[in-house]
């Protein structure tokens, strides 16, 4: 059971605030009046809609196909009618709208076809991955990376570790904790499938030591399912951000994912516990990803709990359901207090990556104090889990010297917010880094675009030159041909005359010569004969 664990540099210990939402078991959220399902709930290409307006869809029916290799399918969370396909605000930091399919539920909750895999141990990995892709499984920890892509590392890589991320290090969020407490068997069954697909030498479930109930539940499920030899549950010290993929790999293996690399580069694949459960449901039950467990918490809610929510459920209906007290509400945050963002509106749907909706009072999370000048205390550098120099990055982002920020490895920043948390000057450091990262991306995009435009411009110029050259050549050839023709005609005219004359003369000469010869020949024999005869 004992497994050596490492520590990563930095990190912080923010107040947990998790117990508020773990008092009641997971409850089912009611079917909402309308479901809004964005076509882009994952990293990669948006999904491509398969349904038409007014079409009746069944629960679990695929309503959008993956729009590319890195993409995920989307399914109807309940039965109903497609009432709109168009732009709708989505839960995104920008507050912008994107393409969504809107479904009006008929409250029958009638299932469509479910195609479970009877015995996955007999099925080829490729087919299982295809089933996951068809079931719309994406990472549920936060980023939403399509799972079928993540589970297919490059051929030459040998996966030594499968790490199941049950850390859930951010304050307030308890959806994974509750999932493990209540459905440990589903978690283990999901991990079994992952083991079958990846065949790692070691499978580790990492869980922070502030969730002993969940760890115990998983352990007993391991024993019931007879998997305790193959899957190990590792308790790690509670520290933020241990749940960050790269930090977790360091904690469990002592390895470090190289700059710009992915975990597979060091032979590791990480999966979130909730993702493991959705994998189990997709393979063994044939149920696509149509709902998730979301934590609704914060002092402005009467009922702080974890709800199993259909994807596409509007947040305002969930807030109503949990008894939002408007007068207490100060801020509505999507995600945790460290990495989440403030919502400007409430008619936004829950998507595959929404793990927490936080309705906080002004006492809980007050507005940040005004930014004061950096005093170079260096706390941020001590807190940074990536060993970056947040102070330097802050100067360069602020003065928009992005090339220097890049030299200081800005792109390695995971935006965990530790630096801003410890900053005594209340500098919104992460916002500066996000700004700088965005600008760097804009500049890069501009460069590739101008390079592209340049190529097209040059190609066009080349083509025009070629065309001009070709037409000049054609003109020349034509002119030459015409000149030749003309010359030929003229010379033919004169030549003919000359030739004729010469020929006539020649012919005349020939005739004359021939005559002369004949005369000579005729005369000679007679002469001979005459002489003989004489």
């Amino acid at each position: 059971m004992s497994h050596k664990i490492w520590d990563f540099k930095g990190g912080i210990h923010p107040p947990q605030n998790k117990s508020q939402s773990t008092q009641d078991p997971i409850a089912q959220a009611p079917i909402p009046s309308r479901l809004v399902i964005p076509l882009q709930q994952h990293i990669g290409q948006p999904a491509v809609t398969l349904v038409t307006l007014g079409e009746r869809v069944l629960k679990g029916q695929k309503i959008a196909d993956p729009g590319g290799y890195v993409s995920a399918a989307i399914h109807a969370p309940t039965s109903g009618t497609v009432v709109a396909i168009g732009e709708h605000p989505i839960p995104h930091a920008s507050g912008l709208s994107d393409l969504c399919i809107e479904i009006e539920p008929d409250h029958l909750d009638e299932w469509g076809d479910r195609n479970p895999v009877a015995d996955y141990s007999q099925v080829e990995t490729g087919n299982l991955l295809a089933q996951l892709r068809e079931s719309g499984i994406t990472g549920m920890g936060g980023a939403g990376f399509p799972t079928s892509v993540k589970l297919k590392p490059r051929e030459e890589i040998e996966i030594t570790h499968l790490i199941i991320n049950a850390v859930e290090c951010e304050s307030y969020i308890s959806c994974d904790d509750m999932l493990m407490r209540e459905r440990p068997e589903q978690v283990i069954r999901g991990i079994r499938i992952l083991n079958h697909i990846l065949k790692p030498t070691q499978t580790l479930v990492a869980i922070e030591d502030n969730k002993p109930e969940a760890a115990a539940a998983l352990q007993s499920a391991l024993e019931t399912l007879g998997e305790s030899n193959r899957i190990k549950i590792i308790s790690i010290p509670t520290k933020y951000p241990s749940g960050s993929e790269k930090q977790l790999i360091t904690i469990l293996t002592g390895l470090e994912v190289p700059n710009g690399g992915i975990p597979a580069d060091v032979g590791v694949v990480c999966q979130n516990v909730a993702t493991a459960v959705s994998i189990y449901k997709a393979i063994e039950l044939g149920e696509p990803l149509i709902s998730r467990i979301t934590t609704l918490t914060g002092d402005a809610l009467q009922q702080r709990c974890n709800l199993e929510v259909m994807l596409g459920t509007p947040i305002n209906e969930l807030l109503q359901h949990t008894g939002l007290q408007e007068e207490k509400l100060h801020r509505l945050i999507l995600g945790g207090p460290m990495m989440g963002f403030t919502l400007k509106q409430r008619n936004l749907p829950v998507v595959k990556t929404v793990n927490c909706i936080l309705a906080v009072t002004a006492q809980e999370i007050p507005d940040p104090a005004p930014e004061k000048p950096c005093i170079r205390c260096g706390f941020c550098a001590q807190a940074c889990p990536i060993s970056l120099l947040p102070q330097q990055l802050h100067w360069y982002a602020k003065s928009q010297e992005f090339d220097k920020a890049l030299q200081y490895n800005l792109l390695d920043c995971i935006e965990c917010g530790c630096c801003a948390y410890v900053c005594p000057s209340d500098i919104p450091l992460v916002q500066y880094y996000r700004f700088a990262k965005g600008q760097i991306r804009v500049q890069e995009h501009g460069r590739t675009q101008s390079e592209h435009a340049k190529r097209r411009f040059q190609a066009r110029n080349q083509r025009k030159e070629n065309e001009a050259a070709a037409s000049a050549l054609a003109r020349e050839v034509r002119a030459k041909a015409a000149a030749e023709k003309r010359a030929a005609k003229e010379s033919a005219a004169t030549d003919n005359k000359v030739d004729d004359k010469a020929a006539v003369i020649q012919a005349a000469l020939k005739r004359v010569n021939a005559k002369k010869k004949q005369q000579v020949v005729q005369q000679a024999p007679t002469n001979n004969r005459d002489s003989i005869g004489d």
Binding site: Q40, I90, A93, D98, E451, A453
Partner: protein
């Protein structure tokens, strides 16, 4: 006599050898074009819009290498001027103001029902971003259009609009954090620290 002749001969020999080497290098490793022009051209936005008064980005780059002002490129904006100033060691100059500097990207859009299929815009487009044939409707390829506006002028029907590109969640980026103008009560000393987000 020999003492002075020897060094002279040695030096003469050396100078001949090095002279020959330099001469060989000058001919053999000759750079046909000013490499500076390429570097400047790489900074240019390559819209080929001609707003600088030169027929394209490269001619302007050549002119800059000859000493032309660096602030004549509205599509490149301040960033390009800054990059040029950094590279050439010249002073930063604000963008030439009589030219409109519009930061937001625009794309050409042909109101197709009004298009008569004259092909004039196709001929004007420096990056072949307009599709169509004589007496057939034309349309702009969104992915190729650089927003240079060169097609707007030649259109006899005036049916080409420059449409600003709508931001989508995919190409949205975080803005620079704004300094707060109205500050809430600030905790200056420990005793007036009324509430805290950290425990």
């Amino acid at each position: 006599m020999m003492t002075i002749l020897t060094p002279i001969l040695i030096l003469l020999g050396l100078s001949l050898v090095f002279g020959a080497l330099l001469g060989f290098a000058a001919i053999h490793f000759r750079v046909d074009e000013d490499p500076l022009v390429d570097q400047i051209d790489n900074i240019m936005p390559q819209t080929q819009c001609g707003q600088c008064g030169y027929p394209g980005c490269r001619p302007y780059a050549e002119a800059i290498a000859q000493g032309e002002a660096i602030n004549k490129c509205p599509p490149g904006g301040t960033a390009t001027v800054q990059a040029l100033a950094d590279m050439l060691g010249r002073d930063f100059e604000p963008l030439d103001t009589d030219k409109l500097a519009d930061d937001s990207k625009q794309l050409a859009f042909i109101r197709e029902e009004e298009c008569i299929g004259c092909t004039l815009c196709i001929q004007a487009c420096p990056v072949d971003a307009i599709l169509g044939a004589a007496k057939y409707m034309h349309t702009v390829l969104e992915t190729e259009c650089t927003g240079c506006r060169l097609c707007v002028e030649p259109c006899p029907r005036d049916c080409i609009d420059m449409v600003p590109v709508k931001p989508t969640p995919k190409d949205w980026h975080w803005p620079m954090p704004k300094a707060k103008l109205i500050a809430p009560p600030v905790s200056i000393i420990v005793s007036d620290h009324t509430h805290t987000g950290h425990a």
